[in-house]
């Protein structure tokens, strides 16, 4: 078990407070980070540890004719060189997100994207490793690269010849009478939108330290993978071992992931293989930034949309038809279901009945996709809000009015979408009205950013300002069962019953220690979300003790049961549910222990303020006493407790259709009403977000400080996605963003003042009323900025039909006008 550093300054415990939940308790993770003591994966270097590096191809598509490793092997400091053939001789390929495909950790025969690793080398330190990489000579026979997903669909050049197609997965789902709705409606609009290849780019790159133990024939792997109990098969399967023989531990501190690090298994696998080849010497690999950006398996959604909307002259939307292709790069990784998650919010906050959803997953010679905050919902909301804008303009209707009259009404809650997911609660019309009222009164007034005279004056200077009002749903919690829809026989889904549905509960355990500390163990990994703080806060209330009486550590993949993990805006709901259950179990256990000790009925004892007392007030056992009593007793330890919080809506019948048919189940609907104020410079094409207004609601706020922090960070990533970030490729398949000079992360210069307000509409479905909140700003930021740009550029009849909206694209559009 990885033990976290004891937090030194702890938290400012405030025993006078009635509860810790709901307060902005300062984080316990901070002290070790601020002092430089935190141990991230880059900092873990066991004794005698060797360093690994990878030779990566510079070709987008080529056959490997020959690899000459002799010069590297001859170097006196070389410990190991392995090629794809060496790996294939002893190990297995890595699983993919589709059953029809698999992938070797080092390329064999053919390379399919720039940056794909073809050989690994191991030596004493990274500098020598780089020398050795230069000594490997690979002869290639280059082939045509396919980089345009629209062309790739025609299968003229194949990324995987044995597969016979570049479209290994697709589905066309129809909910309701779509064709009839489109025929009957007064108007139909059809528009195309592009979402560029954008991703999380955490500041900490991937890292792993692997050690093979010859005696036990097993592996210990420290790494910063995300979802270490869910995706561990991507590591133990290629190694050819059972799950119990491959122990994955994630450090308590991970330098950001945002979904991306769920796909770093290639590195974990290769370092483990290298350690095994070297008789158990520990082997460390740290990805460098250029590797991370070009071939680090961490790009995300890259979509071309064709949206159709049917609506009547009175502005009522009659039907929605969503069509898109998603460029998954060279291999379909586990997050193939990013293509499906938008079904959980398919109409966003709108009341639209018939819906069609049609996608194709396309392979090209690019880096594979991983998950990113929002998991495919961000492009969907962008495309949907864009076509809603286009329809409003087409009707000559104020987009605010058009949106407002199509929103789901509060009395429709809980609201079942055509795609079978259910929104739990929320008043969307009120939120939309409120954001408009706020911004109009603050910013249209004198001295405001949208004061008519100022707006006019700015236009004379070539600067066009705009604002739009939109409401967005952030689907939370997810479920595990639906996520393998693309690996299931879809024709057999209709026969499924609730008994066939297999969900993963949230596991939490704790034990009392000799000094009365309650040591708690999380089964999921964290990457900056403050889970240790959250559990301390929640459990302190449950056990009527101080957060400083509780320590929180992490379980490795062997100790922990399989969990869904920290993803899908899930942890607030699942961890709070699990903590509540764990607290009740602890109280019951300790009461049992005390009753047994006093030889009285359990009804005659009561747990209170961290101890157990007899109801006649004659005796009291502290946690220290209880620990001692338990140690002396035979049988199961009662100072140990565990709890599994079941998926919150597994027993709610209304979700049955979604569960059994493997449609995305996301039972909490956090929501936000946004109004970014943007300014477009029509000379330079530059776009500045002047101020970002957002009213956010994630149900009951467990820690408002953390909620606010997640919103800030999500919106910043949303701004980056909307305006700056993109992994583009040239026609030959060469990546154009391989440094942070090319992949532009938002700095202080790009992020405006944020005006956030929070309301709380508790979820009726979850234990604490909490809804998810981790992904919000990234989900709703780009869509709201794009629609604000549409307003700013209304005089030119230009819309933001491609994300990111970069200066060159804006200038090009203005030139074409």
């Amino acid at each position: 078990m990885s033990r976290s550093e004891p937090a030194i300054d702890e938290i400012q415990d405030e025993p006078d407070e009635e509860t810790f939940v709901g307060t902005g308790l300062n984080r316990v993770e901070d002290h070790r980070i601020l002092t430089g003591d935190a141990e991230y994966i880059h900092d873990i270097t066991p004794e005698a540890c060797l360093s690994m590096g990878l030779l990566r191809t510079t070709h987008a598509h080529a056959d490997i004719v020959d690899i000459d490793t002799s010069a590297a092997k001859e170097h006196p400091d070389c410990d190991l060189v392995l090629t794809g053939e060496d790996v294939a001789a002893e190990y297995n390929p890595m699983p993919c997100g589709l059953n029809s495909m698999s992938e070797w950790a080092l390329a064999r025969d053919t390379v399919r994207f720039v940056g794909e690793p073809v050989a690994l080398v191991v030596a004493t330190d990274r500098y020598v490793v780089e020398d050795l990489i230069d000594r490997i000579d690979v002869e290639y026979d280059t082939k045509d690269a396919i980089t345009d997903p629209v062309t790739a669909r025609q299968d003229e050049t194949l990324v995987h010849e044995e597969l016979g197609t570049n479209v290994p997965d697709s589905e066309r789902l129809t909910f309701g009478e779509v064709d009839a709705a489109f025929e009957d409606a007064d108007n139909v609009i059809e528009s195309q939108y592009s979402w560029g290849r954008i991703s999380g780019v955490p500041l900490e790159t991937a890292g792993v330290v692997a050690e093979y133990d010859e005696e036990t024939d097993s592996f210990d792997i420290d790494c910063n993978i995300q979802l270490h109990t869910l995706v561990d098969d991507t590591i133990y399967e290629p190694l050819g071992y059972d799950a119990d023989d491959v122990r994955l531990s994630v450090p308590p501190d991970v330098g950001g992931s945002y979904g991306t690090k769920i796909a770093i298994h290639r590195y974990c696998t290769l370092a483990a293989m290298a350690s095994q080849q070297l008789d158990g010497r520990p082997v460390k690999y740290v990805e460098d930034r250029i590797e991370n950006l070009q071939g680090g398996d961490m790009h995300s959604s890259d979509r071309e949309y064709m949206m159709r909307l049917a609506y009547d002259d009175d502005g009522i939307i009659r039907g929605l038809d969503v069509n898109f292709i998603d460029d998954f790069g060279a291999y379909p990784r586990y997050p193939v279901n990013q293509a499906l998650k938008p079904l959980s919010v398919v109409t966003n906050a709108y009341n639209i009945e018939p819906v069609r959803y049609n996608y194709e997953l396309v392979l090209t010679n690019k880096t594979a996709q991983t998950a990113y905050r929002g998991f495919g919902v961000d492009p969907h909301l962008y495309a949907l809000e864009s076509v809603v804008d286009d329809a409003a303009y087409d009707l000559g209707m104020d987009p605010y009015e058009f949106r407002q009259q199509n929103l789901i009404q509060p009395e429709q809650m809980p609201y079942k979408l055509p795609s079978k997911n259910i929104y739990d609660s929320g008043d969307f019309p009120e939120a939309l009205a409120r954001i408009r009222e706020l911004v109009e009164s603050e910013e249209r007034a004198e001295g405001g950013l949208l004061e008519p005279d100022i707006v006019e004056k700015k236009r004379d200077e070539g600067k066009y300002r705009g604002v739009s009002y939109t409401v967005h749903i952030e689907p939370g919690v997810s479920g595990a069962d639906w996520t393998d829809r693309q690996r299931s026989d879809r024709d057999e889904l209709t026969d499924r019953e609730m008994d066939d549905v297999d969900e993963l509960p949230e596991h939490l355990r704790c034990e009392l220690e000799a000094d009365g500390t309650v040591r708690t163990y999380l089964a999921t990994d964290s990457s900056g979300q403050g889970h240790q703080t959250l559990v301390k806060q929640l459990l302190a209330d449950q056990l009527e003790i101080l957060p400083s009486d509780i320590e929180v550590d992490y379980l490795d993949s062997v100790e922990a049961p399989t969990e869904y993990g920290s993803a899908a805006s899930r942890m607030a709901v699942m961890l709070s549910g699990a903590t509540e259950g764990l607290g009740e179990t602890v109280v019951d256990n300790l009461e049992q222990l005390a009753a047994r000790h006093w030889d009285v009925d359990q009804d005659l004892v009561t747990y209170r303020d961290g101890a157990v007392e007899r109801d006649d007030k004659t005796e009291r056992l502290s946690r220290i006493d209880l620990f001692e009593i338990d140690m002396e007793a035979d049988g199961d330890r009662l100072t140990y407790a565990e709890y599994d919080y079941e998926h919150p809506v597994l027993d709610i019948e209304a979700f049955g259709e979604a569960f059994t048919q493997k449609y995305p189940v996301y039972p909490t609907a956090a929501f936000a009403a946004n109004a970014p104020i943007v300014e477009v410079d029509i000379e330079t094409g530059e776009i500045e977000v002047l101020k970002f207004y957002s009213l956010r609601d994630c149900g009951t706020q467990l820690n408002p400080t953390i909620v606010e922090g997640q919103a800030h960070g999500g919106l910043a990533q949303g701004i980056g996605a909307a305006l700056l970030e993109e992994f583009s490729y040239d026609e030959s398949g060469q990546p154009q963003a391989v440094t942070l000079f090319d992949y532009l992360l938002p700095s202080t210069k790009n992020i405006p003042e944020m005006h956030l307000e929070h309301s709380e509409t508790p979820s009726p479905f979850t234990a604490t009323g909490a809804k998810g909140t981790g992904e919000g700003g990234m989900i709703d930021g780009p869509a709201s900025i794009a629609t604000a740009i549409n307003r700013a550029l209304e005089p030119f009849d230009i819309t933001a039909d491609r994300i990111p909206v970069t200066p060159d694209r804006v200038r090009k559009k203005l030139r074409e006008e």
Partner: protein, 170 residues
């Protein structure tokens, strides 16, 4: 990684350097190609120097060299021979937090924390230069550091809080 491993290789010449790191004298025999960031992390065990990009953009490896704020991935260690380096580990005294570190904690100005050392060092440099910086000045000064988690709002608050704390301490 031990220095013996490196100095033993015949084709890898080394050079002796002596410098002060966080007030302590450090002497080492290293290859001229070793970056300052790697030297501080691997030879002086100062892991608070984070390496995020190794091409001078992200600012996670920011340290002070002879009083100037530098990105330690953009210098070789041998270039600092005879110099004075301060890292985030050198800020607090006797295990307590520096007012800037306290302010970052209080204002929730960190999430994953990987950029934090760099921001703390950059804030220190800013407040030494201007104890009461304007918003524009803060934005300009901190624009050489990237934070991917916080959206910067709470970092601004932390800088303001730190300024107040440091003014009170004076």
């Amino acid at each position: 990684m031990s220095m013996d491993d490196v100095s033993a290789a015949p084709d890898r010449p080394t050079q002796e350097i002596s410098l002060t790191v966080n007030g302590e004298d450090v002497t080492a025999e290293i290859e001229p190609r070793v970056k300052l960031s790697d030297f501080l992390r691997n030879y002086v065990d100062l892991n608070g120097v984070r390496v995020g990009c190794e091409h001078g953009v992200c600012g996670a490896c920011t340290v002070s060299f002879d009083g100037d704020l530098i990105k330690s991935c953009m210098m070789y260690a041998v270039q600092t021979d005879g110099g004075e380096i301060v890292t985030v580990e050198g800020l607090g005294e006797d295990g307590s937090l520096h007012p800037i570190q306290e302010a970052f904690h209080e204002e929730h100005a960190l999430q994953c924390g990987f950029c934090t050392s760099g921001f703390v060092m950059s804030t220190k440099d800013l407040l030494e230069e201007d104890p009461d910086p304007s918003q524009e000045k803060m934005e300009a000064h901190l624009s050489s550091n990237i934070c991917r988690c916080t959206g910067y709002q709470n970092i601004y608050d932390a800088v303001r809080t730190a300024a107040t704390k440091m003014e009170e301490d004076d």
